[in-house]
Amino acid sequence: VAWHVARSLWEAARIVRGARPDVILGSGPAALVPVALMGKLAGAKVVFVETGSRISELSLTGRLMLRLADRFFVQWQRLQQRYPRTVYAGRLL
């Protein structure tokens, strides 16, 4: 697992260095986390949209991204109330 994390962080750093993003926008999958982390270190803003299938608790990706994201959208009001830092703006589906 440690090897995987190191490897994905390295890959993410390469991607971020290649793309030089100003903003990273991501949703759902955990593959976002290393890219967001590296992007953050490189000065990008990170915006995260939690998956709509989460209603009363954040996903694992969501919990990690809560520390990283500059703006965090959730798709249910109930979830927003539980995590006041997040923003509710309706649902995509």
Partner: protein, 176 residues
């Protein structure tokens, strides 16, 4: 027609249960089985479709797994919905969704697949609350946020100094 939707990964329990009940239902049943192993014997079935919209349109009743997409699509199509949470999934988020939607009386939540026939009988009769999609302003809020970033950048202080990491490790050529 009764549409049964088991999601892309499939939900053999549900496909099997509906296949067994189908002959007694007095109505055509079509099962979307996804990547499931079980192949229905008594009903029409298909694995995937680009959109389930034509199936919803033809259906009087939808029986589905607890996936967000299928459930909200069926409700928005104004269909009576019976949802069965898939216990094979790695977490319990389907139960979470279904318990909330069932508490608000938008759908029938079948918690015990052995009693699916009763759920269908109930689902055919009971009055359910119509579901209205809340307005989504996510795109506007995103645009607002990005515009805010642009404005901050054009001010003299900008977004502040670029972080140390950017200056030593990630910057090639002249920094913006």
């Amino acid at each position: 027609m009764i549409l049964v939707a088991t999601g892309t990964t499939g939900f053999d329990h549900l496909a099997r249960a509906m296949d067994r009940l189908a002959p007694a239902l007095g109505e055509a049943v079509v099962i979307q089985i996804g990547a499931g192993q079980y192949v229905p014997q008594h009903t029409e079935y298909f694995r995937f479709a680009p959109s389930l919209a034509p199936y919803y349109a033809a259906a009087a009743l939808v029986v589905a797994h607890g996936g967000l997409g299928v459930c909200l699509e069926a409700l928005q199509a104004g269909k009576r919905l019976i949802a069965v949470s898939n216990p094979d999934r790695h977490d319990q988020h389907q139960q979470d969704l279904l318990s909330m939607l069932a508490a608000d009386n938008y759908l029938i939540w079948c918690r015990d697949i052995d009693r699916l026939d009763q759920a269908i009988t109930t689902g055919r009769q009971i009055a359910l609350r119509p579901y209205h999609q809340p307005e989504c302003s996510l795109h506007l809020r995103l645009r607002e946020y990005l515009a805010g970033l642009d404005a901050a950048r054009s001010e003299p202080q900008g977004l502040g100094k670029p972080p140390l990491w950017r200056r030593i490790r990630f910057t090639r050529g002249d920094p913006r």
